[in-house]
């Protein structure tokens, strides 16, 4: 069983729609008040526990737009971490549009499951079994492999308009206004501003355009070997024709630009809406120490620059919102197998489950009390005595100094729910504003798996090859299950822990 808790504060009478993942599980019509009275509570605040962690509450005035979507692309398991962050950010900032992730054939089942939890739609794209034309282009120009995968976004014709976001972007606030733009709108590339950067662009899916693009690719190739060169030569009038198709740079703030014009960054950087980690160093190539909130670059240098600031933001997003969903995945899988684990799964205060994206405006600051909506089986009571702080709709960069990150991470990332009795106020803690000191620091510090380990000299978090490596750092007991899960997916770590020598040691125990 999985639950997600949604807290809403005082709410004016309206219709609520509740979304679980991509499907709408319920429409609560009438007024909130009347609905609350149905559930035997006369309080005007509620906490719902749902079967899935990612829920949305929308009101009529932010009705979901079904025919427009944000699209991102994950070609492998590492990039899918980036995609998860993109999707998670979009949700958290309350987009009313659909979210779509295109996955390449090499993305593992586990990652797909995680992506499906965050995105409305996970679409597998594989050039090799796509239309003849794509295939032919592939044959003629094999070097364009990944590029052609990206072009598949034009085939998403169930949407009328889409915004493409690279998996190495970080969305800092609601950017739904991008849908007011036309194809093809994009921000200038910092290296050659007459070209647009293809990390963020607005487009209209159309099979016709898709075909023309493929034909173009076959005939002209790409001058930089990637999608950006191809798209720039295809949409060659972007630079000169219509200024409304020039997105402001804050919608695609390349991290490399920070260095080239530092004063401008200092002046306008605070308005950034989407950060793009352009270049060789991606956030997941760095190491992140949750204890100190420091991001270490590959070469071991601690990044204290402005780049480091963004890397830090990425990692906070990742640790707070994406990693918990993995643990959710695990517990979900375990529960099917091991009955003994169920009690733990039902713990409502699992920090990760208490995260949710509710549109900020919808959540008032009013005093809240909980009401529990239990799906399927037993209902679990949770009381939220504390004021839940809503996430600011747009993070204020000035708040996020390195200093201010430091205290946040530890208590938010408690990962051992068994140690916390149900109903204790730990459940509320993750709503703590970054500036707040953790309310139950003493318990949090002593029982958490990961922070203890990082204190005792464990290596900091690193996302080099896949999320599975990350999971290894999470928890010793999860480790075993995680390893087994990887075996079952055919991804045993045969060069590391699962080497036959270790199996042999186990065998030799009973052969004695």
């Amino acid at each position: 069983m999985e639950y997600a808790v949604i807290s809403i504060g005082h709410y004016s009478p309206c219709t609520l729609q509740i979304f679980v993942c991509t499907e709408r599980v319920g429409l609560i019509s009438g007024t909130v008040t009347s609905w609350f009275s149905e559930s035997q509570t006369d309080k005007q605040e509620a906490t719902f526990i749902f079967k899935r962690p990612w829920c949305r509450i929308s009101t009529f005035d932010s009705m979901p737009v079904m025919d427009e979507a944000f699209v991102t692309l994950a070609t492998n398991d590492v990039y899918s971490q980036g995609a998860l962050v993109v999707g998670q950010c979009l949700r958290r900032h309350g987009t009313s549009r659909q979210t779509v992730v295109m996955v390449g054939p090499h993305v593992s089942q586990g990652e797909r499951a995680a992506l499906a939890r965050v995105f409305h739609h996970v679409k597998e794209v594989d050039v090799l079994d796509s239309s003849d034309r794509a295939h032919l282009t592939m044959m003629g120009r094999p070097e364009l492999g990944v590029t052609l995968t990206k072009l598949h976004c034009w085939a998403l014709t169930q949407y009328t308009k889409c915004v493409f976001l690279d998996a190495d972007t970080l969305v800092l606030c609601n950017v739904d206004e991008l849908f007011d733009r036309e194809e093809l709108s994009a921000a200038p590339d910092p290296g050659w501003p007459d070209c647009f950067n293809s990390g963020v662009f607005v487009f209209r899916p159309s099979l016709q355009t898709h075909d023309r693009l493929l034909q173009w690719a076959r005939e002209h190739g790409s001058f930089d070997g990637g999608d950006q060169g191809l798209l720039n030569s295809f949409f060659s009038d972007w630079a000169t024709q219509d200024i409304s198709k020039h997105l402001p740079f804050i919608y695609n703030l390349s991290t490399s630009a920070v260095y080239t014009y530092l004063p401008a960054f200092q002046q306008y950087g605070g308005e950034a809406k989407i950060v793009h980690f352009l270049g060789a160093v991606k956030p997941w190539h760095c190491k992140y120490d949750r204890q100190t909130g420091e991001v270490t670059l590959r070469d071991g240098a601690i990044s204290r620059s402005h780049l480091g600031l963004f890397l830090n933001l990425w990692w906070v997003e990742y640790c707070q919102h994406v990693v918990p969903s993995f643990m959710e995945t695990d517990t979900c899988q375990e529960s099917g197998r091991h009955n003994q684990k169920e009690s733990r799964v039902q713990h409502p205060d699992h920090s990760s489950r208490l995260l949710l994206a509710a549109p900020a405006e919808a959540v008032s600051q009013a005093e809240s009390k909980a009401c529990v909506l239990a799906y399927e089986t037993e209902s679990v009571e949770v009381t939220l005595n504390e004021d839940p702080h809503c996430m600011p709709q747009k993070e204020d960069l000035s708040l996020y100094t390195e200093k201010s990150f430091t205290p946040t991470a530890p208590n938010e990332m408690r990962t051992k729910p068994e140690d916390t009795p149900p109903g204790d106020e730990g459940g509320a803690s993750e709503w703590t504003h970054p500036h707040d000191p953790p309310p139950n620091e003493e318990s949090g510090a002593s029982e958490s798996g990961i922070f203890e380990r990082s204190q005792s000299g464990e290596p900091p978090l690193e996302l080099t090859a896949s999320i599975s490596e990350l999971a290894v750092h999470l928890k010793p007991e999860e480790d075993d299950l995680e390893r087994r899960r990887r075996w079952e997916e055919g991804r045993a770590d045969y060069l590391g822990e699962d080497a036959f020598d270790n199996i042999k040691k186990k065998l030799d125990k009973f052969l004695k």
Partner: protein
């Protein structure tokens, strides 16, 4: 007679004594394999043929354990109630605990008892068992590998069966469990992990990884020591299977493989040296008539000749009596089965025969099933044309005979000029005209689906063997299994093999190699390699294999080019034998069949079982050859202590027989058969130099006049490459 002889051929020291030492009264043997009463691949043949001997030895205490497959059970198993009370209780207990276990007799030779377990019925336990497997040894099994999941179920069920049986026996008997292949291996591991009172044997017939590596065109044997086995298995997505296999090898009391070459493979890939090599045998059919197999050869050869007549119609410019039929057969694995080497050697042989103006024609058959589109019209037409000629000749003959008869009736000698009239000549001329053809005789008998990418056809195109009339080597590619109902070549495989002169199997990867073994039993000489289990076995047991029609190609220590040269020289030597020499050679080959009979080879299994019993129950059983020195004999190919006999390395059959041809009375088959016993190599003594091998010193001195006198002197045969180069001059 043959049995007595084969007993003395043993290379296992002390083997004879065990029968008295080992009291099997209170021992029970379970033989566990996925292919018990379930044909999937070659293991089925091994188990099915071996069973007769094993049932004779163990009687009522022998049980085969396999999976329950309804279609197989319906056709080959008679379900009965178990007679053994303990086993009956075991099966009842398991059936009442949610399993489906069947008991019956397998209707094959020896009609052994079988315990068949319905694996699918207990699939609901899969998750629990996989967790247990994970807890106990840290091996996980991917959900998508159905075969491996079946192996998990089968393993847990067999371990359950054995454990339950041990518990049900009032006085625990000595249980011996013999597991074949990785699919059954998990049961072994669990027996050890649960510390069941079971002596265990694990036999691999090939290693998983070896198969994968060779299929991937890896330079396998040269890198055998260097492979990072975990990585190779993991990269090929078979890590879990490999772990199961290696774990079973690790846990077994006794680990065996089918040949020396697989033993080396296992030592490096599974990291355990097999305790004993247990070669695969055959059930040899004994003919009542002495040289029945020679008659069968002649019969079958005639039928192949008929086919050749039709196939080459219009181009029959060679003498069918001076024709040698070679063949290669097996799964279509172009390089693993050595078709590449064979083709190359054929091209070189063609050259040699042409420069020597040989009258001999070599016809090489490739029987390897590939994807086809049914028969080629041209080949079918060939057979039709031949039939038409035959019919014409019959009609003319009848008329001729009638006229002859009538003329004799009236007391006159027939007038030869009138006996065939104009009409007959017209008919015959028309028939002859029908045999004209412009195109070359076809190579392939079928329409290939992948004609342009087929490796054999492409290789033939490259080396230019197109069945032209100048070629002394003709090639026929039959890309389908043989069948007695075929309109083209209506013979089954056995008949076909009997009709050929030489089987050529220059395989690169061949853990055992039933094809050359079958040839041997039918008295047909064959070429195998020192990378095939069969070749290793013969090399170890026979001092001069080629004299017996067992040509062993060195593919292990030589480059491909050198191997091709060696094969060319084997083929060339073979072609130069006279008909009589070939007959003698076939007699010798056929005599080796005792060596391949389970009655002899079963002994290796017997000793493996004794070894396991002695290891598991040291208080009850004692196994003599525990010290490593005496085990060396059957664990290493060609013991270093034995100096190679000159007969082995220098000479091959033509020279023996040639010498005998000078003095025909010297060939006495019974005498030679008697001597064979001595020619079979004893690993622990100096090899006996066979008397029949002596005369080859002489032929050079007394200018010999046999038809094969063109043979190069023996010295030039010493190293095959040199012999080839000398022939070119």
């Amino acid at each position: 007679m043959p049995l007595a002889r084969s007993l003395s051929m043993t290379s296992l020291s002390g083997l004879e004594d065990w029968d008295e030492e080992f009291d099997l009264e209170d021992a029970v043997l379970f033989e566990i394999a996925w292919e018990v009463a379930n044909k999937v691949g070659g293991i089925y043949t091994v188990i099915q043929t071996k069973t007769r001997l094993t049932s004779e030895e163990w009687g009522e205490n022998y049980f085969l354990v396999g999976p329950y497959m309804e279609s197989n059970v319906r056709t080959q198993v008679e379900l009965i109630e178990p007679l053994n009370p303990a086993l009956k209780r075991t099966i009842d207990k398991m059936n009442s605990s949610g399993c489906k276990v069947y008991f019956g007799r397998w209707l094959i030779e020896g009609s052994p008892y079988v315990v068949l377990i319905d694996v699918a019925f207990t699939a609901w336990s899969l998750d629990r068992w996989k967790s247990e497997l994970w807890e106990s040894c840290g091996i996980g099994v991917p959900w998508f590998d159905r075969e491996a999941n079946d192996a998990v179920l089968f393993g847990f069920l067999t371990a359950w069966l054995l454990g339950e049986f041990a518990a049900q026996c009032e006085e625990p008997p000595h249980i011996l469990a013999h597991f074949h292949e990785w699919l059954a291996g998990l049961g072994l591991m669990l027996c050890r992990q649960r510390r069941l009172p079971v002596a265990t044997i694990f036999t691999t017939h090939a290693t998983l990884l070896g198969r994968y590596l060779c299929a991937g065109n890896v330079d396998f044997y040269n890198n055998l020591i260097n492979f990072n086995v975990d990585k190779e298995a993991g990269d090929r997505q078979i890590y879990h299977r490999y772990c199961l296999e290696r774990a079973a090898a690790r846990c077994a009391h006794v680990f065996t493989t089918v040949s020396q070459i697989t033993a080396i493979e296992a030592e490096h890939l599974l990291k355990r040296k097999p305790d004993i090599v247990t070669p695969n045998g055959l059930n040899v059919k004994k003919f009542s008539a002495m040289h029945e197999f020679q008659n069968l050869h002649a019969q079958s050869k005639n039928r192949i000749q008929e086919f050749i007549r039709g196939h080459f119609y219009g181009h029959l410019d060679f003498n069918l009596d001076k024709c040698v039929f070679l063949f290669i057969a097996g799964r279509y694995e172009f390089s693993n089965k050595g078709a590449d080497v064979f083709l190359e050697a054929l091209a070189r042989l063609n050259y040699l025969l042409r420069v020597n103006h040989s009258e001999l024609t070599v016809i090489a058959f490739f029987i390897m099933p590939a994807r086809t589109n049914n028969f080629n019209v041209e080949t079918l037409k060939g057979q039709a044309v031949r039939k038409q000629l035959w019919d014409t000749a019959q009609t003319v003959k009848e008329k001729f005979g009638k006229k002859l008869y009538e003329s004799l009736l009236v007391g006159q000698l027939p007038d030869v000029s009138k006996i065939l009239d104009k009409e007959d000549f017209t008919m015959m001329k028309r028939a002859i005209f029908a045999t004209q053809r412009q195109c070359q005789p076809p190579i392939c008998t079928h329409n290939m689906l992948e004609d342009s990418s087929d490796p054999i056809l492409n290789c033939l195109r490259r080396i230019g063997l197109f069945n032209s009339s100048a070629d002394r080597v003709k090639v026929i590619f039959h890309p389908e299994f043989l069948s007695s109902t075929s309109p083209l070549l209506p013979m089954d495989y056995e008949e076909f093999v009997r009709g050929c002169h030489l089987g050529v199997f220059p395989s690169y990867y061949e853990p055992w190699g039933y094809t050359p073994a079958e040839c041997t039993v039918m008295g047909i000489p064959s070429v195998s390699t020192n990378l095939s289990g069969f070749g290793c076995f013969m090399e170890e047991h026979i001092a001069d294999p080629s004299a017996y029609g067992i040509y062993i190609l060195d593919r292990r220590y030589r480059s491909v080019d050198e191997s091709c040269n060696q094969l060319t020289s084997f083929l060339f030597q073979f072609c130069q034998q006279s008909r009589r020499q070939r007959i003698i050679q076939r007699n010798r080959t056929e005599r080796l069949s005792d060596l391949l009979d389970w009655r002899y080879l079963g002994r290796y299994y017997v000793s493996a079982r004794h070894m396991a019993l002695a290891k598991a129950f040291p208080d009850t059983y004692y196994y003599e050859s525990q010290d490593p020195t005496s085990k060396q004999g059957f664990r290493y190919p060609r013991p270093a202590s034995v100096p190679p006999s000159p007969a082995l390395s220098r000479h091959s059959s033509p020279h023996h027989s040639e010498a005998e041809d000078e003095d025909e009375e010297r060939y006495d088959e019974d005498l030679e058969a008697e001597k064979d016993r001595l020619n079979i190599r004893q690993p622990f003594s100096l090899p006996y130099r066979n008397k029949s091998a002596l005369p080859y010193v002489t032929p050079v001195s007394n200018g010999n006049s046999t038809p094969s006198s063109t043979t190069s002197p023996p010295s030039s045969i010493t190293s095959p490459p040199s012999s080839v180069s000398s022939e070119k001059n």
